[in-house]
């Protein structure tokens, strides 16, 4: 396992996070020689997932090293803290924030009990959801990297109304079946969603609201508060200030991803989002990329405003281009400025992770142990928070326990304080989760995004810095970031063309059949992607038709 590395590469990538791994895979895919290293002994950097044991040591290692320590390898996560709310092997929760008398859990969870199951955890530093028709799903399919990943359809999109956690009706069936809406409300909702889908064809319907907010528009079409709440906060994930155009675009994005899998527009990667960068790494390796963890760059030699070679271990390695990931820095290295997109910055995320022994919300939201539930919380001014609740069906925690992830834009250096208003909202619902263990930390922006424009002059023309996770639900900005870097280095080349299927080299007398699986693989999407374009139109037709049918049905019911 300890042979020397080759000494010359087209591309050296430092860090195995999401963006870096995509660039590495894309370069390798077009035949470039790639060395992909990571100073850590795990894949994924700021995008990694850990089992509970590894997570605890990771958080302690960050909490213990002083924030000013320049030599620190992992500098993209800070302000880390962790605390157990159960300590002794007794049934009583130690924390008074936990209301008593929750549904009786058969198992009494002590710290020891939870730790015994450490290997069943896959806890994400940067959890995300994928829109079923979003950028990442499309990229995974078009590049054929989808064969490495499995997903679970998100079970419920939730919202909190008057202290109650409720499922937001997403599909037409949901709208039809929900008891939370009156028949009149159902009709209004269907009508609204249909007109949002038809925004491009019938802009005149919205003419009077072009410069207004989405909320003003929603109010104008005489919706009830219940529906406005669901559409504004959960479906379009907007707030009071969101413009009509953005609100409608968000709503369309949500609706377009509906009906692909399950009841909601979202997918969660089985065994955690930390699997995703590794899928790209595997593709890179399959096309010849060389991987080495626990290796860092100890020195660089510069010639003509370019890095000419790097020192890695005791070897000098020549590299035509270098890509540096979030949380990694090169010695003697100045950072070209500029962020992901216009005015946007990566990182700046306050994070909380809770292990709980009961889920958020009532039984109907968590039937047979619960699946994956998503909740968007708003605050008055800001961008709100993403809340993700994972049960053992997601492959990220043991049976009987739940992971609750909260992410919001960082307002301070105190992630716990940033998260508190949102946590309070969860804890004051009719069915609050019982928290056993909590972690807080801040995900920093990458050096490029923090440094500003002042140091562009010294930038090295063949060094590219990747952004860390952005405050977004899906991976759109990160994919743009990766594709942007790839295009700068290889402007003439195709970005992740489809990789051939191994089945294409079958020896034997029969065609391979795909294995039926209860977990969704994106392979099954491939057939559906054909319907994808047609699907949208189809869906509109259906929505119209169905709302008509359902109206009729309702009217029949009313009589």
């Amino acid at each position: 396992m300890d042979e020397d590395l080759p000494t010359e590469f087209d591309l050296v990538v430092v860090g195995t996070g999401f963006v870096e791994s995509i660039v590495a895979a894309a370069a390798s895919r077009i035949g470039k020689t790639v060395l992909h290293i990571d100073p850590n002994d795990f894949y994924g950097g700021t995008w990694a997932s850990f089992n509970l044991d590894a997570l605890q040591s990771f958080i302690s290692s960050i909490a213990e090293s002083p924030a000013t320590d320049e030599s620190k390898q992992f500098n993209s996560i800070k302000n880390a803290s962790q605390i157990w709310h159960v300590t002794t092997p007794t049934a009583t929760p130690a924390d008074d924030a936990i209301p008593e008398g929750q549904e009786a859990t058969e198992k009494i969870w002590t710290k020891e009990n939870v730790l015994k199951e450490f290997r069943r955890f896959n806890v994400d530093l940067s959890p995300k959801l994928l829109f079923s028709c979003g950028k990442l799903v499309k990229l995974l399919i078009s590049s054929n990297i989808c064969r490495y990943a499995e997903f679970r359809a998100v079970d419920h999109v939730c919202t909190i109304i008057n202290g109650q956690t409720r499922s937001v009706p997403c599909s037409r069936t949901d709208v039809f079946n929900t008891k939370d809406l009156s028949i009149v409300e159902k009709r209004l909702l269907m009508k609204l969603l249909t007109s949002c889908m038809g925004y491009d064809e019938h802009p005149e319907e919205f003419k009077d609201y072009e410069d207004k907010t989405f909320l003003e528009y929603l109010k104008s079409v005489k919706l009830t508060d219940n529906i406005i709440h669901c559409v504004l906060y959960s479906i379009s994930m907007s707030n009071e200030q969101t413009s009509l155009k953005d609100g409608i675009d968000n709503t369309k994005k949500f609706l377009n991803s509906l009906g692909r899998y399950g009841n909601t527009p979202f997918l969660f990667p089985m065994y955690g989002c930390g699997e995703i960068p590794q899928c790209f790494c595997r593709l890179c390796a399959v096309f010849g990329g060389i991987y080495c963890l626990k290796r860092s760059v100890s020195n660089v030699s510069i010639a003509d405003a370019k890095v000419d070679s790097i020192k890695c271990g005791n070897q000098d390695i020549k590299a035509s281009n270098i890509v540096v990931g979030h949380g990694n820095i090169l010695p003697d290295f100045s950072i070209p400025a500029g962020g992901t997109g216009v005015g946007k910055k990566c990182g700046g995320i306050s994070r909380a992770i809770y292990i709980t022994s009961s889920p958020l919300g009532a039984e109907e939201l968590n039937s047979s142990g619960g699946g994956v539930n998503f909740l968007k919380l708003t605050d008055e001014s800001g961008t709100g928070a993403f809340v993700l609740q994972l049960s053992h069906y997601s492959g990220t925690c043991p049976k009987g326990l739940y992971l609750i992830h909260i992410s919001c834009s960082a307002k301070s250096n105190n992630p716990e304080a940033d998260i508190k208003p949102y946590l309070d909202k969860l804890l004051t619902t009719d069915h609050p989760p019982a928290i056993l263990y909590s972690i807080y930390f801040t995900i920093d922006a990458c050096l490029r995004c923090t440094s500003g424009a002042s140091i562009t002059n010294d930038s090295l023309s063949n060094v590219f810095v990747c952004c860390g996770p952005s405050f977004e639900l899906d991976y759109d900005e990160s994919i743009d970031n990766a594709e942007g870097i790839f295009k700068k280095i290889y402007p003439e080349d195709e970005f992740l063309p489809r990789a051939p299927d191994p089945e294409e080299i079958v020896i034997g007398d029969e065609d391979p059949v795909s294995v039926a699986d209860d977990v969704i693989t994106l392979d099954s999407v491939k057939e559906q992607i054909m319907e994808l374009e047609a699907g949208l139109l189809h869906q509109e037709d259906c929505m119209e038709e169905n709302s008509r049918n359902e109206e009729m049905a309702m009217e029949v019911g009313e009589e």
Partner: protein, 216 residues
């Protein structure tokens, strides 16, 4: 897995690991494509090779043989590589005892990263490859090898030659036997495992709901 009353089909993922140049790719090529090439070439662009076996009149076995692609060879396999594997070959080169020294490291890594659903290690067969050439080290002593294999939890070992086609079929057959044996145990365990059943039924239901939605 597709199971019908009269015919059974199995799809198994098998890992082929070992040091640089031990003959992993040659082993797979010989077994799957029935040829051998003396030219050393890194394996590019292929995840696995598929071999279809008509095991018995009622059983078809499809083997996915996952090469380590030579690239993850510095010891850092991604989880994608290990995921859902049910068996493994660890290959070393009998002419270079250094490749044997690394065998236990590979075995430890394997056992740490992948287990059977029940928690036990996946069956693994040790291949002493290039036996058409002069041997070096422990492999010259059959008793010691037997002992080593037992102590280190291998299901067995074979002297193989990808070049001369020695023991290739035999070693594969031995591994598949082990896997089928485990599979029977697992299937029985599955039936008693409510948790797994629940998972299948919920998502199965989801898929039907989805289809219902689509065919409106």
């Amino acid at each position: 897995m597709t199971t019908s009353t009269e015919k059974r089909e199995h799809l198994y993922k098998i890992l082929v690991i070992g040091e640089l140049g031990a003959g992993k790719t040659s082993f797979i090529k010989r077994y799957v494509h029935q040829f051998f090439s003396a030219n050393y070439r890194a394996t590019i662009g292929v995840d696995f090779a598929l071999k279809v076996l008509h095991w018995d009149p009622n059983t078809i076995v499809r083997l996915q043989l996952w090469d380590i692609a030579g690239q993850e060879r510095f010891g850092n396999m991604t989880r994608v590589y290990y995921k859902e594997a049910v068996g493994a070959f660890i290959v070393f080169d009998v002419t270079r005892s250094g490749t044997f020294d690394a065998v236990s490291k590979w075995k430890e890594d394997l056992d740490a990263k992948v287990q059977l659903p029940g928690g036990g290690p996946i069956p693994c067969i040790l291949l002493a490859n290039k036996c058409d050439q002069e041997k070096q080290g422990i492999v010259t002593n059959i008793e010691k090898m037997d002992e080593y294999v037992k102590v280190n939890g291998f299901s067995g070992w074979f002297e193989t030659s990808a070049k001369e086609n020695v023991n290739i079929e035999e070693s594969a057959r031995a591994l598949v036997n082990q896997i089928l044996l485990n599979d029977k145990l697992i299937t029985v365990a599955d039936i008693m495992d409510n948790e797994k059943f629940a998972l299948e039924s919920t998502s199965g239901q989801q898929i039907t709901t989805m289809k219902k939605n689509c065919s409106c």
